[in-house]
Structures are given as structure tokens and as C-alpha cells.
Symmetry: C2
Subunit: 120 residues, 2 copies
DNA sequence: CAAAACCATTGACAATGGTCCATTGTTAGC
DNA sequence: GCTAACAATGGACCATTGTCAATGGTTTTG
């Protein structure tokens, strides 16, 4: 499929998709028609973009994502790095979740306090 | 206390603290000595900076934090906005946590897949 | 009292994650 | 065949979140 369709399916702008491609998060091939220079995207990139969004939400930077996705691809030779990297990231995300839950408590308490103030 | 102590206690740089103050996340007063222009910080700002860090971790931008902290201060008149704002934010953080947990699953699965590949 | 450490202010710089624009070319629909 | 919509490329631009350096003054300390 072409970039427009990827954009429509993923909800991202074409510019963003190209930006991600420049940064190595996805890739495309040259397309058959030799009349143009349009790129062709595999259907799987949509899923991949989905994952990118999840990972970003979890605090991954684009540089980290690039590494992570490379590991998904051909995790053969340098598996040591990959494992350590993942281990780190997992711990990081876990920690982040814990702290978010704490903060959620703060938010709820604030809401509560506010409600009381109103009733009074 | 002066900015240096705040920095030491909070673990943030003086520049960052000033940056936060410029952006309305904390404030200071003028200090008694009229020989200098040093600012004085209340002890509570350290706790406040702590909360700022938590909130940022949970995805708050500085602009949002500013609003939130203002509500904590004098949530009297416009409590409607504050409540809606908090409600929104709570839902947002909850959603974020859920997604982070999903992604954590992906990370673990990847780690698992990698481990299997190695054993093979 | 001299030097080291601290403070305020200003403005430049930087990294991250995009977004927008202009230009040029291609394709699709009427 | 014309026009609208789509695509590629390059570079400018943007907001956010800080960080750094220069300058000029103040305080602390040995």
C-alpha cells in the first residue's frame, strides 16, 4: 500500500510516517511502477506503528524504539545486549507504572478534597 | 531557604528550578536582606517539586501542571472547571497505565521469544 | 581580605518529536 | 485531457523541556 493508506489506517500524518521512516522505525520498498518514485508499505507497518504508539506511551524514545524493533527483527548475533536492554526497559516501565499509580492516588485525593470543600 | 538548598534537597539543578518558577510551578519571595536580590524558598516547595516529578512521569505537561497546582491552591470559585479537569486527568492517567501494562506484556513476550531463540 | 562559592538575569543553545511549506512530479476520476 | 488528489524531497519552523555561558553582584570561609 502507499503512504496515504498507511496514514489513513494508522491515524498518523504522512509527514509523521515519513519522519518515522527516516528514523528507522519502519521501512518501505521501491514500488513496481517505474514511472514514479512512490514507496510501497507492507501491511504490517500499520501494526508496527500501533506498537510504536504504545511504546512511546510507555516512555520509549524514538532512538530506543529503533533498537527495540531491530531486536524484534533479527535477534541472532548480539543477543546479550538485547536481553540486557529489554531487562532494563521492563524494569523501567514497571517503575513508571508504579509511580503513575501513586500519582493517581494523589489525583483522586485532590478530587476528594475538592468535593468536600464544595459540600461544606 | 535559598535556591542552592532547594536544588540540593530536590536533586534538581538551580536552572531547572528557576525554569519551573518562570513557568509558574513554584514561587519564592524576596528575602529579607536588602543588600542582595536573593530569593527565598519555602520548605514546601521541595515537596511540590517532588509532586511535579511524579506528575511529569504520569504524562502531565508543565502547562497542565500549572493548572493543576493552581487548583490545589485556591479551589474556591471555579470549582466546576477544576473537577472536570481532574476527572479528565484521572481517566487519562488510568488509560495510560492500562496501556503501559499491555506494552509491558509485549516487552516480556519479546524477552521470552529471545530467550527461546537462544536456547534453540 | 582574598578566593571560592553562591545568586540573579539574560539570552543562546540543544535534543526530542514532530509539522508545514514549496517544489516537482504522478495518478485517478470525471 | 483536465483537474484534483496523491506522492517525494528538502528544508524551515515549532513547542516543549530544559541546559549552559556570560556578566555582575553577594556571601561565606579559611
Amino acid at each position: 500500500m502507499r503512504i496515504g493508506e498507511v496514514a489513513a489506517r494508522s491515524g498518523l500524518s504522512r509527514d509523521t510516517i515519513r519522519f518515522y521512516e527516516r528514523n528507522g522505525l519502519i521501512n518501505s520498498t521501491k514500488g513496481n511502477e517505474r514511472t514514479n518514485s512512490y514507496r510501497t508499505y507492507d501491511a504490517e507497518v500499520v501494526a508496527r506503528l500501533e506498537m510504536v504508539r504504545e511504546a512511546q506511551n510507555a516512555g520509549f524514545t524514538i532512538a530506543e524504539l529503533k533498537m527495540f524493533l531491530r531486536q524484534l527483527e533479527y535477534a541472532d548475533g548480539n543477543t546479550f545486549d538485547a536481553d540486557a536492554f529489554l531487562q532494563n526497559k521492563i524494569a523501567e516501565v514497571e517503575h513508571k507504572i508504579e509511580r503513575a499509580q501513586l500519582f493517581l492516588g494523589t489525583l483522586r485525593a485532590t478530587q476528594q478534597a475538592l468535593a468536600n470543600k464544595v459540600k461544606k
